[in-house]
Amino acid sequence: MINRFTLFAITFMWLGVLTPSHMSGQDKDRAYLFYVASESEDQVTVVRFDAVRGLSREKVINVGNLPAEMEAPHGIFMDPDGEHWYLTLGHGFPFGYLLKYKTGVDTVVATVELGMFPATVAVPSFGGLALAVNSDFHGDRVPSSVSVVDLESMTEIARTETCTMPHGSRFSPDGLKHYSACMMDDQLVEIDVVTLGVSRRLDLLTGTLVGNGVMHGTDDMSTRTTGMMVAGRQVCSPTWVAPTPDGSSVYVACNKGNEVLEVDAERFQITRRFDVPGAPYNAAVTPDGSKLVVTQKSAGTVSVWHLASGERLGLVENTRRVTHGVIVSPDSRFAFVTVEGIGGEPGTVEAIDLQTIQRVDAIDVGKQAGGITFWRTNPIEN
């Protein structure tokens, strides 16, 4: 019989060389706190990681109003000032919601109804505004929108139509541009945050701008056909956008195309391609701009890329399947990854050392862990 202690011991040995002995003194004096949403548990978990204790669940927050209806918390984002965090609930009657929580006490302070299945949400660096994609994962294949919410009054001030099944929601570092991807239209869409209108669309299959007749793509990278053949046609099916900290590029995960595309943010052209098999899903660039971390959904892996050289630095296998979200600690030291699991499996949060490109710990949270957002770094007093 395997008891809990034995399981712990096995797990510890399995993690083996990944233990905190590799950490520097500086690494050991801080703890990282972040929030994780579990879509099939209607829970948000506050997770803590430090180099000594590893990952721990600090708090579990039940979300939603109906205990017998799954309301599907999906997107989660911490306000840059840390005072509030924002959560999308995908399932409503039928429209979903954006909830505003007070950080720390983690209670709802305001709610606003959005569109069909709002998914990813983001807040720009200057705060006060949230853009959430109404992904409408399961509706008719018609164009959907991005909801723009004033966060002080929790008022939806605009609903900008973008494309069919928008997903991913991230701002440029200066907050003036918003990027989202179109899973069914193979586009990268840029919204001008000043006008809230779509400023540019990039066809990710052809590498050309859409809609204004301007054809870009005179170099090989931008005109090369993207994606793989699915049902007789090329498909990218982009699921995520990850701007670089300097705003020069945006990385787009082609989930079905098994590529990550580097898009020049100024020219809106594809400039590089990374072959990422296993259905790349979410991505994050380290704050120091040196690495790209990509979750690979079907492969159950996370790849880490050196952006300057374009080389893959390593591949980390996840403890479960269906890898989902990723964030990177502000010091660019660790990546924290969510893994959904399948069926009755719990969701999992994994911590990856971005120096050794190895998993250093994993902890279970509610089922279908997906959305993840960084809260803060705490000093640890010795």
């Binding site: 205990p67 017998a68 799954m70 002080e152 605009a158 069926g343």
Partner: protein, 661 residues
């Protein structure tokens, strides 16, 4: 207040010069001009905003306007053009989108539309001296909306003939002609009565029954007669009652009701005197109400415990081998459906299970011939949900025949199997009709979706070729899917009628043709309840909401006549059979309710409850936390699914009369 008032439809520009992009500086203050707005519905105005730096200099920066209710007070976010669509008080704001706190707001008052008419009831030609009749006024504005925020003013042109109070109660004092006027704003309605001498000499009052039980409806009929003994058809008669309940601790007013159609129902035993009041005459009739005495002993029979995961719905059926079986779903778990042999209900035996790629198998249904089961899928790892069709000819060896998710990827929450078709609630928006005549090759043949703004759907139930869909705020919709009377078929669903109850949270509905000849629809809410102190991990959960009972005998004139409302708990699924409502009531447990006879009032308080059972299981997913999902009477037992503890069977024993010498 500084304001700008415009005429209907006028365009008034206050200046327009803003919104150029690209300023590197952020202002410290914004100001909207004017400082407030007072508009009429239909007005269009343009407001401007000015940005100032710390030194008070005007800055040229992009600004964005928005309204606290963009559907009612539309605003062009760039141009500042404001269009007032609905009356009310709003806030118009402007902000620098690229700065968190740089914003300004002004109040906007939109006058409600002009009032167009006042409709008064009741009306007639004559009024009897001594009569007092309450009149009601419905105020309508030019858009046709009923304006409940404008109370009418009542007036009489000759108070010596007839006076009227502020509630619209008109009292006639002497003979003559009088005009009663109801006024709301500029709209008014006047009605002229001829007040005549009161011809009523006697009033008689009869009751359909003199002795009833609590919950039974008595129909009272009052007849006013003149000096010649002739019936006066337009005699103003009002009903009231005096209660003398057996329980002396209960006040006179809280135990029974009589409406102005003369329908009486009591909640407590006692003597009740109903009064029929006509000018100068009162008739009274006393009836005896006894306790309903329908309570029955309910006894635990058996449990098929599921304690590792929450349980969802159930279905019980007789298998092709003549034995009895149940299927239960699981919720927020590993995508399992469990099959039980319940031939011996005291010991349900788990005989097989099916696990699909899902986290919730919310609904389970079995075909009429007991050969095909359909289970719904939600939370599939690849987000392709849909449903799974199973061969349950041998429930000990259930076989997956096919999976169907074409345009059903959003998660099928509920299904109904009816005459070789699956009716699948799709993505909370519509239902799809899928033929399973060849269950290995299911294919869509029809679809139905409402056209109301923001419509949704939660459940579907089919009886006699009519689908009853539960549509949250849109209530229940009746759709011909094969009855034929309205030309409907599975491939051509035809809407028959719809009814929105007073709750607006319709989650499940069940039709019932009562032996009384009345046709009722029971409509259940689903509403969450916050329980103070209940947020600790593992705490029992609670719900709110109740069952609304709608008399749909005349589909053109439905009437919400009764409710079954258990305090401190919430309604979920339901089943009706042989004049008994089997109500799954979440934290209120499994409840059986006598719904015989005509229904009126709150059935819970009328002693109509026959039995209820709280399924406590110390080993449950949540220990000792009844959270009843749904029940199904079957061959003398009542089976029900408990969210926290699996499949249960109880027996409701026939009522035994205790004879005393």
């Amino acid at each position: 207040m500084v304001g700008a008032k415009t005429g209907l439809g006028m365009l008034v520009a206050f200046g327009f010069g803003l919104a150029t992009a690209g300023s590197a500086q952020t202002p410290t203050r914004l100001e909207i001009n004017p400082a407030s707005l007072s508009l009429d519905v239909g007005d269009t105005v343009v407001v401007t905003a000015t940005a100032y730096d710390e030194a008070g200099n005007v800055m040229d920066v992009p600004l964005t306007f928005f309204s606290s209710s963009r559907r009612r007070l539309e605003v062009d976010r760039g141009a500042g053009t404001v269009v007032a669509h609905r009356g009310g008080e709003y806030t118009l704001s402007v902000r620098v989108l690229t700065a968190r706190d740089i914003r300004a707001s002004i109040p906007v008052m939109v006058e409600f539309p002009a009032l167009a008419s006042v409709e008064v009831t009741p009306l007639g030609e004559r009024f009897f001296v001594g009569a007092s009749v309450r009149h009601r006024a419905k105020v309508l504005d030019v858009t046709g909306d009923v304006r409940t925020n404008v109370p009418p003013r009542w007036a009489t042109d000759d108070p010596s003939i007839a006076s009227v109070n502020r509630f619209g109660v008109v009292t006639a004092h002497r003979e003559g002609d009088v005009t009663i006027t109801a006024t709301a704003g500029a709209a008014s309605t006047s009605h002229e009565y001829r007040v005549i001498a009161n011809p009523i000499r006697t009033v008689t009052l009869s009751a359909s029954q003199d002795s009833v039980r609590t919950g039974d409806v008595i129909h009272f009929e009052a007849t006013a007669l003149d000096a010649r003994g002739q019936r006066i058809e337009d005699a103003p008669v009002t009903f009231s009652l005096i209660a003398s309940p057996d329980d002396s601790a209960i006040t006179q007013s809280a135990t029974a009701e009589v409406d102005q159609k003369g329908r009486f129902v009591a909640e407590k035993a006692g003597d009740y005197t109903v009064l029929a009041v006509a000018p100068g005459n009162v008739a009274q009739h006393t009836v005896r109400v006894t306790n309903r005495d329908v309570s029955r002993r309910i006894e635990y029979v058996g449990q098929g415990q599921v304690s590792n995961v929450p349980t969802s719905d159930l279905w019980i059926w007789e298998g092709v081998d003549g034995r009895d079986y149940a299927v239960t779903g699981t919720w927020g778990a590993h995508g399992a459906a469990y099959f039980w042999d319940v031939t011996e209900p005291s010991s349900p035996a788990l005989v097989d299970s099916v696990v699909v790629d899902a986290r919730t198998v919310n609904d389970v249904k079995v075909s009429e011939d007991g050969r095909i089961a359909v289970i719904s899928r939600e939370g599939a790892s690849n987000r392709r949900n849909g449903l799974v069709i199973l061969d349950v000819t041998n429930p000990r060896s259930v076989q997956v025949l096919s999976r169907y998710d074409d345009e059903l990827t959003g998660g099928v929450h509920n299904v109904f199997v009816y005459q070789n078709h699956v009716y699948a609630v799709n993505n909370g928006r519509r239902f799809d009709v899928i033929s399973i005549e060849d269950p290995t090759n299911p294919h869509r043949v029809g679809r139905f979706e409402l056209d109301t703004p923001g419509h949704g759907i939660h459940d579907i139930w089919i009886v006699n070729g009519i689908a009853y869909t539960s549509n949250w705020g849109d209530g229940v919709v009746m759709i011909d899917v094969g009855n034929g009377r309205w030309g409907g078929s599975p491939s051509n669903p035809v809407e028959i009628a719809r009814y929105r109850d007073s709750g607006g949270r319709t989650h499940a509905a069940f039709p019932y043709e009562s032996p009384t000849g009345r046709f009722y629809i029971f409509m259940g809410d689903e509403i969450g309840r916050s329980v103070p102190g209940g947020d600790r991990d593992g705490s029992p959960e609670a719900m709110a909401g109740f069952f609304h009972i709608v008399d749909m005998t005349d589909p053109e004139n439905p009437e919400e006549v009764a409710r079954y409302d258990v305090p401190e708990a919430g309604s979920h699924n339901l089943w009706i059979e042989d004049d008994v409502l089997y109500a799954a009531y979440y934290n209120g447990g499994m409840r059986a309710v006598d719904i015989s006879g005509e229904l009126k009032g709150n059935l819970y308080r009328q002693g109509r409850e026959m039995a209820h059972y709280m399924a406590f299981d110390p080993e449950g997913f949540r220990a000792n936390a009844p959270f009843t999902w749904g029940g199904q009477p079957y061959k003398g037992n009542l089976f029900f699914a408990e969210h926290n503890s699996g499949l249960w069977a109880v027996k409701i024993h026939p009522r035994t009369q205790v004879l005393t010498p």
